[in-house]
């Protein structure tokens, strides 16, 4: 908790999304001007993807500005995960282009993703169950490793330096995310909520410019969610990380994000600030109708 307090300057009690929002206002948010001239960290142009007969994504355009928290929402099966999978190169789109920084791709080379400055978490846990928590997080630095296996086995100084550096960073991230008490446990043995957090740690340790989070709070308790929201916000502010966030909890999304894109049946039906989305009749009809009371109630 300590480092979090330092970051947010708040009390040691758990944050709830509403508190975070209040605090953001207190800090004078939003600090990011909404000018179109602001450079995009990530862009999708006319992305389409289908599986057999199922159209997962239909001609999607999406721009993510540097430093913003960009939420993608929509009902189950809307194509949110597919979008992130396309950005991370796991799926290859049928049509369209992906722009990452200055590079344009028709499909993103997954093995270069980390070097392009992108890290992600997964909707379904994708930790390395057989590695300890700290080793999972150290693995997040794998893209930086230069030493050969022989140098590592022989313990040559270059590889030792690399190892110490990665271990140090991993330890700091674990502390930042309040995970140091489990750092030597096997990742697969942790409770679900903590595993989700370890996944965030593994992504953060790479110091990505862009962080893709696929339902980071799914299946969490209210207090776990609040804590996770804090971490996401802190990552965004402390490291100026651009964040693409998929989340079903509308309350959290409304509080955290700068802009929201809404998908339904693979099409983008709305895109705008939380206020605009809240007021959008199409969104309410397609999606928010059910969740409306959550918004009015100020989160779940």
């Amino acid at each position: 908790m300590n480092s979090m307090n330092r970051v947010l300057g708040g009390p040691a009690t758990a944050y709830f999304p509403a508190d975070i929002a209040a605090e953001r206002q207190g800090l004078g948010e939003p600090v990011k001007p909404l000018s179109a001239a602001q450079d995009t960290a990530l862009g999708l142009d006319g992305i389409s993807l289908s599986f057999g007969g199922v159209v997962a994504l239909d001609n999607i355009d999406l721009a993510v500005r540097r430093g913003e928290i960009r939420a993608i929402i929509g009902p189950n099966g809307a194509g949110k995960s597919s979008l992130i999978n396309i950005i991370s190169g796991v799926y290859r789109p049928d049509r369209g282009r992906i722009t990452i920084g200055a590079d344009r791709f028709t499909s993103v080379p997954t093995q270069k993703l980390a070097r392009l400055g992108i890290a992600r978490t997964f909707q379904n846990l994708a930790l390395f169950k057989g590695l300890s928590v700290i080793d999972n997080v150290i693995s997040g630095r794998a893209y930086k490793v230069r030493s050969t296996f022989l140098a590592q086995v022989l313990g040559l100084s270059g590889s030792r330096r690399e190892e110490a550096d990665a271990r140090g960073r991993a330890a700091r991230i674990l502390e930042f995310l309040n995970l140091n008490h489990v750092s030597n446990r096997l990742a697969g043995t942790l409770p679900y909520g903590l595993q989700k957090r370890v996944e965030l740690a593994r992504a953060l340790v790479a110091e990505p410019a862009i962080l893709l989070l696929d339902e980071p709070m799914a299946g969490m308790t209210a207090s776990e969610k609040a804590e996770m929201a804090e971490f996401i916000l802190a990552a965004n502010r402390e490291y100026n990380t651009t964040i693409v966030l998929i989340e079903h909890d509308i309350g959290v999304v409304m509080e955290l994000s700068d802009r929201i894109a809404v998908l339904d049946y693979g099409r983008k039906i709305a895109d705008g600030t939380p206020e605009e989305i809240r007021a959008d009749q199409g969104v309410i009809d397609a999606y928010l109708g059910v969740a409306a009371e959550n918004i009015d109630g100020g989160g779940i």
Partner: protein, 357 residues
């Protein structure tokens, strides 16, 4: 005062280097003196060679998650390569032949590991059988490999390094023990390095590994190469220190399964596991044959012995998979932990019982 000591006394703790140190000291100093010829020839020499093969396979299958059913092929490659290097290159020291044979095995391992770049799971496991059958066929078919001997039989050369001969049972044991220790240490360092973490990452979640920047293809090929190198050297030990005379038919599918069983029984993804598994696999048939002839007398002939060995081995595999999926190692660790806990308790009880001073 007593209370303070009680609080402060660190729990009984075994440093990590202690166990290998004790085992190695015992193996180098005590065993050569107390061991009988039977112990070396029938137990320790096959145990060492198979343990090393298990270490090699464990790197590939236990750590990197690539199931191989063709380990015996690499044992054979190692044995025949070392034989040929030794035979054909004038003046090459024995240790040179052994290292080179490891490299040959590694190269062939990379070739047969190439399908792993596209195939997964059972498809890959089945494709490793290609190595098994192809190598056995080639060694039998082309008599060049065995210097034109009948049915591909090769004889071990005299074992000497720097003028010191290791041809007696004890000598071969020391020779084998040294190589096994060195390669095991290498393997241990490897699996605890970044490359070792990459192995497990690729095994546990290949997609996630690729996304965080683990070089997946390279990692797989490194696993194939190192695993084959180690298994190849194990093959040299098998042929040169244990059997002394081998033929390609001895490196059959059953041998491959034997090595796979070693790591299942001992514990996947554990270096120690290979030694536990090999011990069980080498010793249990001996016990079984003693027990069988004791219980059933002459009825228990060699055919019956063979068959019951198969049954017992099969049953062991299934039992372990169901009851102790992490193998003997985890059983051992549990027992050790429990006895250490008991020791600590006794220590504390002993302290607490002392009069206050």
């Amino acid at each position: 005062m007593t209370v303070a000591t009680f609080e402060a006394s660190a729990p009984f703790h075994i440093p990590r280097w202690l166990a290998p140190f004790v085992v190695l000291s015992f193996a180098y100093i005590a065993v050569p003196f107390i061991g009988t010829n039977y112990l070396f020839e029938a137990i320790l020499l096959p145990f060492l060679a198979l343990s090393l093969a298990g270490v090699g396979l464990n790197i590939l299958t236990g750590y990197a998650g690539q199931v191989s059913l063709g380990s015996a092929a690499f044992l054979a490659v190692g044995a025949f390569a070392a034989y040929n290097f030794n035979l054909r290159i004038e003046g090459l020291p024995l240790i040179g032949s052994i290292i080179l044979s490891g490299f040959v095995a590694a190269a062939i391992g990379i070739v047969f590991g190439l399908p792993s770049l596209r195939l997964k799971g059972f498809y890959l496991a089945v494709s490793t059988l290609a190595a098994q059958f192809f190598v056995q066929w080639a060694l039998t078919k082309f008599s060049w490999f065995s210097n034109d001997s009948a049915s591909g039989v090769i004889d071990a050369p005299s074992l000497s390094i720097a003028g010191i001969a290791f041809n007696g049972a004890v000598g071969r044991y020391i020779f084998s023990l040294t190589i096994v220790s060195l390669l095991t240490f290498f393997a241990y360092r490897l699996v605890s390095s970044q490359t070792g973490r990459n192995f497990i990452a690729v095994r546990d979640n290949e997609t996630a590994a690729r996304i965080i920047g683990v070089p997946v293809l390279k990692t797989k090929l490194i696993a194939f190469a190192i695993s084959s190198f180690i298994i190849g050297v194990a093959g040299v030990l098998w042929a040169f220190t244990y059997l002394r005379t081998v033929e390609p038919a001895g490196f059959n599918l059953d041998r491959s399964f034997q090595i796979l069983f070693i790591i299942i029984l001992g514990g996947l993804a554990s270096i120690r596991g290979a030694f536990f598994g090999a011990a069980l696999l080498v010793v249990s048939p001996l016990i079984l044959s003693r027990l069988g002839s004791f219980l059933f007398g002459d009825l228990f002939n060699s055919g019956v012995l063979d068959m019951s060995q198969r049954i017992v081995l099969g049953a062991l595999i299934i039992l372990f998979l169901i009851l102790e999926p992490d193998g003997l190692v985890s059983l051992w660790d549990r027992i050790r932990k429990r006895s250490v806990a008991r020791l600590n308790k006794r220590k504390h009880v002993g302290r607490a019982a002392q009069p206050t001073q």
